[in-house]
Amino acid sequence: MDLIAVLADAVRAAVGPQAAVFALAAVGLNLQFGYAGLMNFGQAGFMLVGGYGMTVSVTRYGAPLWLGVLIGLLMGFLLALLLGVPTLRLRGDYLAIATIATAEILRLLFRSEAAAPLTYGVFGVQQFASGFYDLNPFGGGSYGIGRFSLSGGQLWIALVGWLLVAAAVALTALLVSSPWGRVIRAIRNDEEVVRALGKNTYAYKLQALVLGGLMASVAGMVLALASQAVTPDTYTADLSFYAFAVLLLGGVGRVLGPVVGAVLFWLLLAASDSLLRQAITSGVISDELLSTSDVGPIRLALVGIALILFMYFRAGGLLSRRTPKAAATAKAEVAA
């Protein structure tokens, strides 16, 4: 078995564009769910409209890339309004139902035959991002040391992705440390109290939903650029749940939680994938017990187990301030 290869695979995944995509989606979700308490199960829908908004305007209408990005953002903005305006006056659960349903409807709509003239149907569209990779300052070579290396194109998209993550994190940090952030954290606690103190809670919730949705739209665009493809079935409900998994692993309501979570998520996923494959091909695990095609689902199960362990031992994620022990001592101090 080649453990260096396992490590290389894991590190490459953890710093790669995929992790940046998940981090972006989870930073947005953190603003919505972690701070404002909005149950948005439709991050995949925001990623879909972002990715398709950019891609379709570039490929179908010959728009320049920057315009495509703006259209992707506009689509995310409109989706947030569409979801938020009718549901945010209602109880929290309605938003959860509306978001998960809308994201699925969008996916089914985009893969339908009727929409194919615009959306390219089930197979989506590939190799449209030359405009983006033309800007690549790194050229075609390979960067890194030995097996810990990325191609110039991969490095370029990863860099852009992580810079966007940094921007989203900085924006979140500025906002949540401001009085605006105090209001949305208070809304998560008890919305009626906040209304009684003269704040238009509806407007605040809508702002949080829009901001988080825009971040997810950007994530969708990075994903489309990184894979040079948009296909409708990339944006299944699973993607929304992964965003939640990332957030829960890293730390809900912590500024850097989603970043830590995304790195951890991909580290776990890639390491277990690579390790299992190596073990099977080298005969450590026999073929009859497990074949390489089983690895995909099993690695997800492992992430699930990690999530359960986190819930049990560190409910607020890796960056949580509140370990069960700390909470207990805090209670004891107050009692004393």
């Binding site: 924006l171 500025l174 906002l175 401001s178 009085p179 605006w180 952030g181 105090r182 209001v183 954290r185 208070a186 998560r188 606690n189 008890d190 009626e192 109290v193 906040v194 209304r195 009684a196 103190l197 003269g198 704040k199 238009n200 809670t201 702002q207 805090a330 209670k331 107050v334």
Partner: protein, 280 residues
């Protein structure tokens, strides 16, 4: 039947309401023809359970909608305004079941109520950092004073979730005062509070009145009402039965009937109403 507000015409009304109705299906929960709170007073809204006090209270504060009627705050028409706008106009309420914002510290709880904080807008938060920081510094000073006034200054940095029930009542009042209300509406402030804390709360309420804030509170404990209020309004079956000084209202035969006739009021309340002394 409704009696008109009795002869306190000398002071201006801060809150007045006419013909306010709230129906749930066939049931008319609130049907108040005429309701006035005089400025600078402590006014108690009493009545047996199910009288519609809380519903009326919720309608006035924008937490429930009215099916009919109009109400004015300091002469301004405020009928049907959403809760947050009523609060900005100076009409601030608390809740029967105290609601502290458990994850926020005590200081944050109070700061949240500060009016006109520019950093609460997204633009102001991002681009007016210097401006809101200055406001925040002033507000923090006031928040500390308020917390000290309610004996909570030691815990200013703790999350409100660690407070006891009584401390939460105090915090809620400090928070409401931070918003500089003209009219403070307290929904059963003494409910579930131990007798010693009731005294503390009453002292605080008197002090708030002394500073020029009018108080309207819902209560069904007669002792409390008689001790502290200037005016009493008694409701039953959604209507106003009597209005006047505590002594007047408690002598009113209809009020006594309403309390005696209700399953919820214990013999205690009835006895006290009948004039057998106000002290426990």
């Amino acid at each position: 039947m409704t009696s008109s507000p009795s002869g306190h015409e000398t002071t201006q009304s801060i809150l007045s309401a006419q013909g306010v109705q709230r129906r749930f299906g066939g049931l008319t929960a609130v049907d108040v023809d005429d309701f006035v709170v005089r400025g600078g007073t402590i006014t108690a809204l009493i009545g047996p359970n199910g009288a519609g006090k809380s519903t009326f209270f919720n309608v006035l504060t924008g937490f429930d909608r009215a099916d009919a009627g109009a109400w004015q705050l300091e002469g301004r028409e405020v009928t049907g305004l959403p809760a947050y706008r009523l609060a900005r106009q100076g009409m601030v309420r608390t809740f029967q079941l105290t609601r502290s914002l458990a994850d926020l510290t005590l200081e944050e709880n109070v700061l949240l109520a500060a009016p006109g904080q520019r950093g609460e807008g997204i633009g102001g938060a991002l681009f007016g950092r210097r401006s809101w920081r200055r406001q925040e510094a002033d507000n923090t000073e006031r928040a500390q004073e308020l917390l000290a006034r309610f004996g909570l200054e030691q815990m200013a940095g703790q999350p409100a979730g660690v407070l006891s029930g009584g401390q939460r009542k105090l915090l809620e009042m400090a928070r409401a005062l931070m918003s500089e209300p003209r009219l403070l509406l307290l929904d059963e402030p003494m409910a579930g509070v131990n007798p010693r804390l009731v005294e503390t709360l009453l002292d605080h309420i008197r002090q708030v009145r002394a500073e020029g804030t009018t108080i309207l509170f819902v209560e069904h404990d007669m002792d409390v009402v008689a001790d502290i209020s200037d005016d009493v309004v008694c409701m039953a079956f959604g209507k106003v039965l009597a209005t006047g000084t505590p002594a007047e209202v408690m002598r009113d035969p209809e009020v006594i009937d309403a309390y005696l006739g209700s399953d919820e009021a214990g013999d205690d309340d009835s006895a006290r109403l009948a004039g057998k002394g106000r002290q426990p």
